[in-house]
Subunit: 329 residues, 2 copies
DNA sequence: CTGAAAGCGCTTACAG
DNA sequence: CTGAAAGCGCTTACAG
């Protein structure tokens, strides 16, 4: 039979309350007592009953992962990270797909979470944020626009995009196109900013006709490349806001009979599986998504335990050089 | 403040126990009483406290989704379906990645689920199944090898594969290659069986040299196509066990300078996003994965409530004809 | 630094 | 067909 807190208390020769104190890392337990209790927990292989904790403590020990419509690859990596961090702290993960911003209130019907992890673009949705504030729910963000007021994790998208474009310039490209990400995503703004910054550094003009809108989709790349490559003076390189978009660019290039990288250089962002599978393989930027999610979740748990704790942490990205980038023709 | 069962009881003029009966769909409640209670629940917007139910009932109302390493696209579709079904029945979803079959016991450390949904190939892993039986945990399967003894949902993979190959034969192909799926997956056996069956029906010989092993991966397609297209008498069509594999075939074909479908016809299976994004778009088979997951979860919940309930349901697939298949050269 | 009592919101026997 | 009591395994005040 499963050991209960009472069994541990008897085995350690203390009261239930003391076991509870040790279990929850509370202060005011003598070191010797603590050791006797942990030994008893160990020996009995004690695991607190989650339901009893929740009921008595009036807390759920649940963390909601709220997401709307990011790529599946991204989301699965996030899930892995959140799961790892929440389990290590005896929290449970509840998945909450959010189809409309108003759905955010649904969360509080299905569950009574102690906190939430948000993925972009929910991180920057005023309706979502307002709802969380109203419910006074602690939350943590992956790559939010606002890095000052939030806790969570992010990479320096601006610097990453800048390096990519600087590399293109170093290979002699003078007309470098950019297909933007979806509006409302921080990643759109940062990657565009990195693009502009790199141009300025190498003394290239910022030509608005070389920048087209997009949605982070394959189709964005197809359409964007048609526009860019149909210009009187088409670019010799295209920096796509993500790998899916870059894959679309490759498709259009193939349709137009352009060889990559001989006639056109292309780079993406994210290093999703398609980046290494497509022909030619994409030069891109790798984000440690699982690690970011893990860190953001740990920050959240810190904040749940102490409203003043938790921080916004920057993690490192990595440039992945493959075959889709070459010297300017 | 949140309504409790006691509040509902007072409002309806009955005891807590009667409210509990109505809530759990138990028998022996007079119709008039039932109506008064449901009206009171409605009016107070009553939601039972999950933790209290779990603690008192000694059940978790949790359903584990156990998965090891299927494709992310597949898994996200499964998650969507399981989530929909479990929520509609007031069950919670707990994700359980299983890296090694022995990890299955971990499930019972982190949670005390009322049931489990299994994805392939866990569905056919003797170690996993034995552990579930030992813990006497009800479980439901997606596309298990054994359709007789299990409950869950499946499509007729054999028939789907057969149609694909029959279509190739109808277009004049006489040498049709097959790159198999991973060992231990029912899908491997069924798709191979459908391939063989179609050949037999149209009077083509089964040539072992035209069938190569694979792992459902992009790389399987690259390697498999190199082998097949390097034969003295190479096939004019290749049926890949899934879309990722087919994408690999397309890559190798491009490297060898073969045009698809002019020089080589290719078809996949699953209709993942890559199938419509790759050039040329893949002829393939669409499985309603989300719907299958929803059905399998409902069957599981039936079985949780009654050990004799629950069934194995067949759902329909759909042939998707795109551009990767054409007449034999 | 430690403990005895009450209570979280339900369900489970049991009684009628 | 319905209800009063006990109990699920913890935590929260409160007391010492």
């Amino acid at each position: 039979m499963r050991a209960r807190i009472e069994d541990v208390a008897v085995a350690a020769g203390v009261s239930m309350k003391t076991v509870s104190r040790v279990m929850n890392g509370e202060a005011n337990v003598r070191e010797g007592t603590r050791l006797r209790v942990t030994a008893a927990m160990e020996k009995l292989n004690y695991r607190p009953d989650p339901s009893a904790r929740r009921l008595a403590g009036q807390r759920s020990y649940e963390i909601v992962l709220a997401y709307n419509n990011p790529s599946r690859n991204y989301l699965m990596d996030v899930v892995t990270g959140v799961l790892a961090a929440s389990r290590s702290c005896h929290y449970n993960l509840v998945l909450s797909p959010i189809s409309s911003p108003r759905d955010i209130d649904e969360i509080f019907v299905h569950a009574h979470p102690d906190g939430a992890v948000l993925t972009p673009p929910l991180t920057d949705d005023p309706v979502v944020i307002a709802a969380l504030e109203r419910h006074q729910l602690p939350y943590s963000c992956l790559s939010p626009l606002d890095r000052i007021a939030r806790i969570g994790a992010y990479i320096d998208d601006v610097a990453a995009a800048r390096s990519l474009v600087l590399e293109l310039a170093a290979l002699g490209h003078r007309r470098i196109g950019h297909i933007c990400g979806a509006k409302g995503h921080g990643a759109r703004e940062w990657r565009l900013a990195g693009y502009k910054q790199a141009l300025k550094e190498v003394g290239l003009p910022y030509d608005r006709s070389l920048v087209v809108s997009g949605e982070f989709l394959f189709e964005s790349g197809v359409d964007g490349a048609r526009t860019l490559l149909g210009l009187k003076q088409p670019p010799t390189a295209i920096f796509a806001a993500n790998d899916d978009t870059a894959a679309g660019v490759l498709r259009t290039a193939a349709e137009l009979g352009l060889r990559v990288p001989h006639d056109l250089s292309v780079c993406g962002f994210d290093d999703t599986p398609v980046a290494s599978q497509i022909l030619p393989a994409l030069t891109t930027v790798q984000q440690p998504i699982t690690e970011m999610a893990r860190i953001a979740t740990l920050q959240l748990i810190d904040r749940i335990r102490d409203p003043k704790a938790g921080a916004m942490e920057q993690v490192d990205y990595r440039l992945i050089q493959r075959e889709s980038v070459g010297p300017a023709p």
